[in-house]
Symmetry: C2
Amino acid sequence: MRGTAWRQALWAVLLSLLAAAASAKTLPLPDGLVALNSPQGEQALVRSPAKAAYWELSLQFVTQKTQSFCGVASMVMVLNAAGVPAPPTPELEPYRVFTQDNILNEKTEAILPQSTIARQGITLDQLGGLVQSFGLTASVHHAADGSLAAFRDAAREQLAVPGRYVLVNYLRRAIGQERGGHISPLAAYDADSDSFLILDVARYKYPPVWVKAAALFDAMNTPDSDNGNRSRGYVLIGGGP
Amino acid sequence: MRGTAWRQALWAVLLSLLAAAASAKTLPLPDGLVALNSPQGEQALVRSPAKAAYWELSLQFVTQKTQSFCGVASMVMVLNAAGVPAPPTPELEPYRVFTQDNILNEKTEAILPQSTIARQGITLDQLGGLVQSFGLTASVHHAADGSLAAFRDAAREQLAVPGRYVLVNYLRRAIGQERGGHISPLAAYDADSDSFLILDVARYKYPPVWVKAAALFDAMNTPDSDNGNRSRGYVLIGGGP
């Protein structure tokens, strides 16, 4: 090996060690999922033409504050990205921003009491209703009522347009993750790998991942016992009614 | 105009309206600063060769929870990105993550009491000491003791390597922002515009911005009355001692 090759090899090893160290605190990813913070994941984002949502939502990324607050954290991200007027935020006066501490109000309480969210989280249909209560258009789609092709087309189109968002409600273990029902925003679509990027709000557990459209659809096409065994699915937010 | 041109023009207007709507809740940016979530800002990030820090820190982006917690929020981002073992996080058992509620401990209290942080925030020298207390190497650089060229070279090199970070302590009004001393992480360097990307933790106030290296250096080269009128500056984190 010439000196340059040696240096390059050493550099590659160092970089991979550092990358491993940097992600040591989240759970290992199952085969088939690609972390955004990997060379392959970064390339997919750079080449994706459908990532308007990424630029908006990544600036508003938050960690769910309790294990049942994935839906609440996802809504915080969307409402801040969409520029919906936030309620007073005492610690930040005169500025305002949606947080997981101020987003729930009288209207949301009428749709779904905070005590229920604390116990079992938010179902797909409740999520649609909660988003609408903030004045955004939101259409709820149960996976079992549609198809992979319809989901792929609708979500890809949505992610390419500023001011539009997709929240997905899926069963983690169906894509090899720990473990139950979960909600997070999508951020981009990559045609080369036919994958969607999930900005997972359980940042203490997993990095954002690229997941194959078919695998994500199957994980949404699972019965939710908290919702009368109707299937999970996705909510399209923004755009026409 | 042909039909295609009309549609393109209409599309451009719609996109700019949507972009304006999406950022309507933050303050207007002064001339010379480029928002990351603008076409120009996105292009600068895509072409930047020095953005390892961006991939790590953007996944850990948080909003400072009080107006004096910019330094605390910045440390939360760096410690999570670096994979430093986090303290117990009761709401997320068995998982752990640094938050602005659990990061301050007996060691930090000995360096700088939380009551002082609440009153006046963190100075550059205190920031270096606090970061070191978590076992990371951190070197403190007062702008007045160095030069623009030294800052540019050191920060650019740091941002290109995984596991290394730069925190900047600068006077906002020196770059035309509202208003006082502030701390946030850098995320990338763009050679074409000779600018650094600041992931501003006051997300309720400003989006991440690209700022000219010279303007940022001048804003760091300002006396801090909370630090015996020594100048502000930057902290290089990670790498050798």
